[in-house]
């Protein structure tokens, strides 16, 4: 089966995660995705380790080729502009205005290539008094309201925090969606477009109903922790082992009865007011105490399997060791492995969907900085070895140092 993006050319100026993840989507389904960097402006995720290859970088830039080019040199810039003439998609998530100042903004490039689909993303968007703000994924949590709400209800005055870099990967999917929709439209119109997604508005878009509630009843939206107004018990409970937890939700009286049966119908659960949701919500703290005593003796997956066998929503709280060992994820072919020198066999997340008529995602190692400079310039532009040698000698193009033999 032919890969859906076979023959498409993508220039990936992504750094960090957002743009980089857009590029990965196109690479996995067959586009020739060129990661554009230079030794003075590498993707900063590379620089976590001195050799430029680490698991985070390998995961996000897998299945791509890499071009090392000095954009501060007029010949380097001209070369990239020639590549952009041939590209179907260009992705960037630099600070607002950076690409324009380089001469690689959408308006400049589309004059030569009206078919180009161009995706941009930055923290606060390219318009408005706070446009141009710099930051990282976690910088969006405070400014989008998410940080305030992602907390335990009793700690509202003291933010809890997390080390998740959300929404970087999420906005990466939005970017893939916007770019792909642009290609789809181009099949009919013949022209591309520029799409933009501001990262803080991505986070806001997940919380739209809470903002609507706040606008209608100011001061009523607070952190909810793990509880829900939909029912009780509903939360995260300690399990056997170090920092092991399970989550469970009782959505209905029938699910409550099923849970009680699995617990062996203890006396505390027999009180008539617990038979309905309002009674259980009123007794939430007491239910949580009893359930914790039960879950503490069990492994998280045992709680999950036993309650699921009775139709009660329950899940183990996964960390990566659980994911790697999950027989369900394995059976679904979710985990993607490839060899990444010098790290060894790396296992990473695959697509979140299986498809009945798509080829498996293409997986190969992430490149060193400039690893494919020579072949990209040959393949895309037909440069001769003589021209290439000169550009390397002048520092316009870059490639990895040859290992000493």
């Amino acid at each position: 089966m032919a890969a859906p993006f076979a023959g498409l050319r993508v220039l990936d100026f992504g750094v960090g995660a957002v743009g980089v993840e857009v590029g990965r989507f196109f690479a996995e389904y067959g586009a020739d995705v060129i990661k554009v960097e230079s030794s003075t402006a590498p993707d900063f995720i590379r620089t976590i380790t001195p050799d430029g290859i680490n698991p985070a970088f390998a995961s996000s830039s897998r299945s791509k080729r890499a071009l090392g080019v000095n954009l501060k040199d007029a010949r380097g810039l001209a070369l990239v502009r020639r590549l952009a003439r041939l590209a179907d998609v260009l992705i960037e998530n630099n600070g607002a205005g950076v690409m324009e100042r380089l001469g690689l903004g959408y308006e400049a490039l589309r004059a030569d290539n009206p078919r180009l689909v161009y995706f941009s993303s930055n923290l606060t968007g390219s318009r408005g008094p706070w446009s141009g703000w710099i930051g990282y994924g976690p910088s969006t949590h405070p400014v989008s309201g998410m940080q305030h709400l992602w907390n335990y209800p009793e700690d509202e005055a003291r933010p809890a925090g997390s080390t998740n870099i959300y929404p970087d990967h999420f906005v990466g999917r939005l970017g893939a969606l916007a770019a792909l929709a642009g290609l789809y439209q181009r099949e009919q119109t013949g022209t591309g477009y520029r799409a933009e997604a501001a990262q803080f508005e991505g986070a806001i878009g997940f919380l739209g109903d809470l903002f609507a509630r706040e606008s209608l009843a100011p001061g009523t939206v607070h952190p909810r922790g793990n509880a829900s107004e939909r029912g009780a018990p509903w939360g995260v409970y300690p399990c056997k082992g170090e920092d092991e937890w399970c989550a469970l939700s009782v959505r209905s009286d029938a699910e409550w009865r099923a849970l009680v049966a699995e617990l062996g119908s203890p006396d505390w659960a027999a009180r008539p007011e617990l038979a309905t949701a309002p009674g259980r919500i009123a007794a939430r703290a007491e239910l949580d105490r009893h359930l914790s005593a039960w879950t503490r003796e069990l492994a998280p997956h045992e709680v999950m399997h036993r309650l699921q066998a009775r139709g009660v929503p329950a899940a183990a709280l996964h960390h990566p060791a659980h994911e790697l060992a999950d027989p369900h994820l394995r059976a679904r072919g979710y985990l993607q492995s490839f060899d990444q020198p010098p790290l060894g066999k790396l296992t990473a997340e695959g697509p979140a969907f299986r498809a009945s008529d798509l080829p498996a995602p293409i997986q190969f190692k992430a490149p060193l900085l400039g690893e494919h400079s020579r072949e990209v310039c040959r393949d895309w532009l037909g440069l001769s070895d003589g021209e290439l040698d000169r550009l390397f000698a002048d520092g316009v193009l870059e490639e990895p140092a040859r290992p000493a033999s």
């Binding site: 706070w130 910088s139 080390t163 109903d209 209608l216 939909r230 920092d243 369900h328 979140a352």
Partner: protein
């Protein structure tokens, strides 16, 4: 020139028969221009009973947000007459979205083999908690269980407390985004093959996709990381709340020192590196808290950003709704949630050629566009529509 009235997916017809979960999938397709009909049982979708609620009407704001811009129609998929009509509708559809869970009565109507045999060009997007095959395929779930098993939760919250859930419907919205992306990929593939296909989207895998690089890192290092609150993404108290400062690189640190007047207690070369600052985090945090103590969070962020330091203010929901930036950008707009009740909703995720691309209309009432759909598009007569209504099929 841009054509703000033409959106990229204009001309595509999507039937969104979601149950309760992942309605953002259809919303994103509608935002991008597809005509999306929200198909509900005659009594209304179960998602109309999801919190939060509007204070006066009691209408579900979750439904209002995730179905804005769709049209509304009803059909009883458990009746024979309903199923026959469903086939007539699908003959005209490019995409069908469903999000049943195991045991739902309507699940039978979405059998992929039967639907694709009858409608070979259809893209059928199934969204479920664990996916439709594999040893846990029959397991049920909620927002909370999906977030927990997706692998994002173990690093969220304070070390001495249980992991804490993200606000909103993070897990199901994540699945909605992946569902929309997979759907457009399948439509793209259909341009070449002429065939539709079945997409099996998993909530667990959707959340896992947003869990940063924890899995690949673990596969190499065997390290999982721990729950450490904000960790290196420090939150500093100030006069009216908190700010987040992510001081990763040397020039951020130097710009901060310049702003602070290069205080003697921070004039330590060890603090110039990220590792050095992490080793001496208490010293750094104490000095910054003292410097920020008399300053307001937005003022701190604006001045920091002017100096090239990545600091952002920790805003409460009301402060997000009405600050100079969201007001200038038009981040929110008013949409009706029930007659006489109007709330502020986000205007959308995208701008295309400078124009906002998001919901243009409020979410539909159940069956609001029944006549338009069943008569004008499917071709029922008015008499047939009335008869099906009387039978409770529509």
């Amino acid at each position: 020139m841009s054509h703000p009235s033409t959106r990229p997916l204009a001309g595509l017809f999507v039937v969104d028969a979601s149950a309760e979960k992942a309605e953002l999938c259809g919303r994103l397709l509608a935002d991008l221009g597809a005509e999306v009909v929200r198909l509900e049982p005659p009594a209304g979708a179960p998602s109309r009973r999801l919190p939060p609620f509007a204070p006066t009407s009691g209408a579900s704001l979750s439904f209002a947000h995730r179905n804005a811009g769709k049209r509304g129609a009803t059909l009883d998929l458990t009746s024979a007459a309903g199923r026959a009509l469903f086939d007539r509708l699908l003959a005209r559809a490019d995409v069908l979205i469903e999000s049943c869970e195991a045991g739902d009565a309507a699940l039978e109507a979405f059998d992929p083999a039967r639907l694709l045999a009858a409608h070979p060009r259809l893209v059928l997007t199934s969204i479920s908690d664990f996916g439709r095959f594999g040893p846990h395929a029959g397991y049920v779930g909620t927002e909370l269980t999906g977030f927990a098993i997706g692998g994002m939760m173990y690093r969220a919250g304070a070390a001495e407390k249980p992991p804490v859930l993200a606000p909103g419907q993070f897990a199901y919205d994540s699945a909605g985004v992946h569902g929309a992306l997979a759907t457009v990929l399948a439509l793209w593939q259909r341009l070449r093959t002429g065939r539709g296909q079945h997409l099996d989207v998993s909530v667990q895998e959707s959340v896992s996709n947003f869990a940063d690089w924890a899995l690949p890192s673990f596969s190499i290092t065997g390290q999982t990381g721990h729950r450490t609150g904000a960790g290196i993404y420090a939150l500093y108290p100030c006069a009216d709340g908190h700010v987040r400062g992510i001081i990763l690189v040397k020039h951020h640190w130097q710009a901060l020192l310049d702003w602070m007047g290069n205080p003697a207690e921070l004039a330590d070369p060890a603090l110039e590196s990220l590792i050095g600052r992490i080793m001496n985090q208490k010293k750094v945090d104490t000095a910054l808290a003292a410097f920020f103590a008399d300053k307001k969070k937005i003022d701190i962020a604006v001045e920091s950003q002017r100096r090239g330091i990545p600091v952002t203010p920790l805003l409460r929901p009301g402060e997000v709704l009405a600050n100079e930036h969201t007001l200038a950008r038009g981040t929110f707009h008013e949409l009706e949630v029930a007659e006489g009740e109007t709330g502020a909703f986000p205007t959308g995720f995208f701008e295309i050629d400078g124009a906002r691309v998001g919901p243009r209309e409020r979410a539909p009432r159940a069956g609001e566009h029944n006549r338009e759909l069943w008569v004008e598009r499917v071709g029922l007569s008015h008499a047939e529509l009335d008869a099906l209504r009387a039978q409770g099929v529509i």
